[in-house]
């Protein structure tokens, strides 16, 4: 019986100890280590009853700018404050389509308070719409990623009607207005109300190969902005307006990235049956074909012929993705009965566990076939982990081959890098060290804040 092939199903009532190959147990209450009977081997008991909360924890208060001083230094904090000083008196509005969930909301939850703290008062508004609007904008999203789509007259009217309704509901008196992503892009028609305001379209998605009908519809709106911001030069379109690059970022003080005491890491590994005395190769991502989890299993199996290791595939969010369950079954089949492959389907609020898994890992893999910016790569690099990743999307910006990690293009390449890095720990360590510095310089929340302030200075004519 394969006891290590474990899934924590994210399905309403969390089936926290559904061990593949055994009957599913009822959701387990949190069990303290001391209450468990003596395990037959380390971690056995707790692995069956991992202490995963069934409900999301209350969000922690956002950090203050000075909290980042121990990470980036006082001089860097001073530079941010100086940049902000010439913007005092300016006001900013951010508009997106959701207040919770998703990377944009997560980033705004941190950025907006920090802008306020440096005396650049920033208001965050969220557009509203019916199901028809959000179904349409989801279709737009897929089409802008290159999917086929026929844009009907009705779809155009629905998009414009909801944008018009939101425009009526909101006011735009701020000096700088930042509209995130395509959903609220039509709000730009309100810019006539304050002719001195500067409008920015922040596009978080890859427009390198958009559906021509949808892009043809959105483009005239986008070109009414003063500037557009992308996450990578490869995501941008040729445009008549200035286009800037602001990388996505991670928050080093968040639950997912903060420093952890080793006892926490050990507890999580014990809970999940991961043996820290042996090499651990981990991919954190939802069970999605574009993340190529089966390719990771194949690479692990090739590498395992030469080096001992365990493979942890941990992700979540499958409950709202019908294909996720199918992919999970396929991965399970590919894993067969290998006791060293550990599948964890975690609920989305398991940030601390993900953090611990990344920190426990010897190597981190992100063998995506298609990717946005790839913030899971950023997270791994920040933790100083030697990282092997597919050369797609924004990953090559982060993983500079043989300098901050290893880029791969195939299962065989991934397998070779696993073998190489596990047998060359000093080189792997140097990659991890460089990777962390790369994130510190370019992909932390503080760098993001610095770049937004720079953009505001440039657009408001105070750059000098």
């Amino acid at each position: 019986m394969n006891k290590k092939l474990m899934e924590l199903e994210n399905t309403g009532a969390l089936q926290a100890d559904n061990i593949v190959g055994e009957p599913a147990l009822q959701p387990a209450p949190k069990i303290e280590a001391s209450a468990a009977p003596a395990p037959a081997f380390p971690g056995q008991e707790r692995r069956k009853k991992p202490r995963i909360s069934e409900t999301p924890p209350a969000p922690a208060p956002p950090p203050k700018l000075d909290d980042y001083e121990r990470i980036i230094g006082k001089a860097a904090i001073d530079e941010i404050r100086f940049l902000a000083s010439s913007l005092h008196g300016k006001t900013v509005k951010m508009v997106n389509s959701t207040a919770v969930g998703g990377g944009v909301a997560e980033m705004l939850n941190r950025l907006v308070p920090l802008l306020g703290e440096v005396e650049v008062p920033t208001k965050w508004d969220v557009i509203t719409g019916g199901n028809d609007f959000f179904e349409l904008t989801k279709a737009f999203h897929n089409a802008l990623h290159g999917g086929s789509y026929h844009l009907t007259k009705e779809a155009r009217e629905t998009f414009l009607r909801y944008n018009e309704q939101n425009q009526q509901r909101m006011s735009f008196e701020e000096d700088l207005v930042v509209i995130h992503d395509p959903q609220p892009a039509g709000l730009v028609s309100a810019r006539g109300g304050n002719p001195n305001a500067r409008w920015v379209w922040r596009c978080h998605i890859d427009l390198s190969n958009p559906n021509p009908e949808v892009w043809g519809f959105l483009r005239p709106m986008v070109e009414r902005y003063n500037a557009a911001v992308f996450s990578s030069p490869s995501f941008a379109r040729p445009s008549a307006i200035p286009q800037y690059l602001i990388y996505p970022c991670i928050d080093p003080l968040s639950e997912k990235n903060k420093d952890l005491d080793d006892s926490v890491i050990q507890r999580v590994c014990d809970d999940f049956g991961i043996d820290r005395s042996r090499p651990i190769v981990t991919q954190i991502s939802r069970f999605d074909r574009l993340k190529d989890p089966i390719g990771v299993v194949q690479a692990y199996k090739l590498a395992k012929q030469y080096v001992d290791c365990q493979l942890v595939l941990a992700g979540g969010g499958a409950s709202d993705d019908p294909e996720g369950d199918i992919v999970l079954q396929e991965v399970r089949a590919a894993a067969q009965d290998d006791p060293d492959i550990i599948l964890l389907n975690l609920p989305p609020w398991c940030a601390l566990e993900v953090n611990a898994l990344q920190r426990a890992s010897t190597l981190v893999v992100q063998k995506s076939l298609r990717e946005g910016f790839g913030l899971t790569v950023t997270e791994a690099l920040w933790k100083g982990k030697p990282t092997i990743a597919g050369a797609v999307g924004g990953i090559p910006t982060q993983v500079i081959h043989k300098l901050t990690g290893a880029l791969v293009h195939s299962v065989e390449g991934c397998a070779y890098q696993i073998r190489y890095l596990l047998t060359h720990p000093e080189f792997a360590k140097q990659l991890g060290k460089n990777g962390r510095e790369h994130v510190k310089e370019n992909f932390l929340m503080t760098s993001n804040l610095r770049r937004w302030l720079l953009l505001f200075k440039i657009l408001s004519g105070t750059a000098g």
Binding site: E79, F82, H401, L454, G464
Partner: protein, 229 residues
């Protein structure tokens, strides 16, 4: 009465203080892109000077933590994406500190790529796996809280400033000064009368060390000078 010798360290005071500044950059995505080495050459000839600056001077700052194997974006792209190794080596050998103008730097890079295409017919039109995107940099100069009138204050300031500040004074400075030198060396020479130290600072190799290494090395040189005074 026994005579005693009292050694008093000389503290030189600058008539002009050294003001530590820093700079912040925002990357602007350009219109030019290249899918082959020939297109790279066309882009190099047509792009604004800000783009040449971004992909040479500025990229060193973005990758300041790498001790070896990174020199400029053109070399990196021709090496990793185009696999034109000889071209990449020649481009990587371009030391930005030999240039006091972007115009001259552009001419040098254009000549290397042009010569390579002439010598390797066919190399120019081989499609690259990923395009090269020409970008440029918008710069804002930032003052810092640090100022020095003597070597002790200079060392204190240098210890505390960001690497952006070191890049600003040590690498970007030559474009402002139009001299094969840097702000630190000029001040050490003109205000502290330490020409040997100034030369030693200027000769620090930025392509085999990080900007933190540069900071450490300058601090060592300054400490040595203080000992000798």
């Amino acid at each position: 009465m026994a005579s005693s010798t009292i050694t008093q360290k000389t503290v030189r005071t600058a008539s002009k203080a050294f003001y530590f500044n820093s700079s912040a950059h925002l990357l602007r995505i350009g219109q030019e892109r290249a899918g082959t080495v020939a297109e790279l050459l066309a882009g190099l000839r047509a792009c604004p000077e800000d783009s040449i600056f971004q992909h040479t001077f500025r990229t060193l700052e973005e990758h300041h933590f790498i001790r070896e194997g990174f020199s400029n974006d053109f070399a990196h792209w021709t090496f990793t994406v185009c696999k034109e190794l000889a071209l990449a080596e020649q481009l990587a050998s371009v030391d930005v500190r030999e240039f006091t103008s972007i115009k001259a730097l552009r001419e040098r890079i254009v000549k290397i790529v042009d010569d390579y295409i002439q010598a390797n017919p066919g190399a120019g039109d081989r499609p690259a796996r990923e395009p090269f995107y020409f970008c440029s940099s918008e710069i804002v100069v930032l003052p810092t809280a640090f100022m020095a009138r003597n070597l002790t204050e200079f060392a204190q300031g240098l210890t505390q400033v960001t690497v952006h500040c070191i890049h600003h004074h040590f690498i970007e400075a030559r474009l402002r000064l139009k001299l094969i030198s840097n702000d630190f060396s000029l001040w050490l020479q003109e205000e502290m009368q330490l020409p040997k130290v100034a030369r030693a600072v200027e000769s620090i190799d930025i392509y085999t060390g990080t900007l933190e290494d540069v900071r450490r090395r300058i601090l060592q040189l300054v400490a040595g000078a203080q000992e000798a005074l």
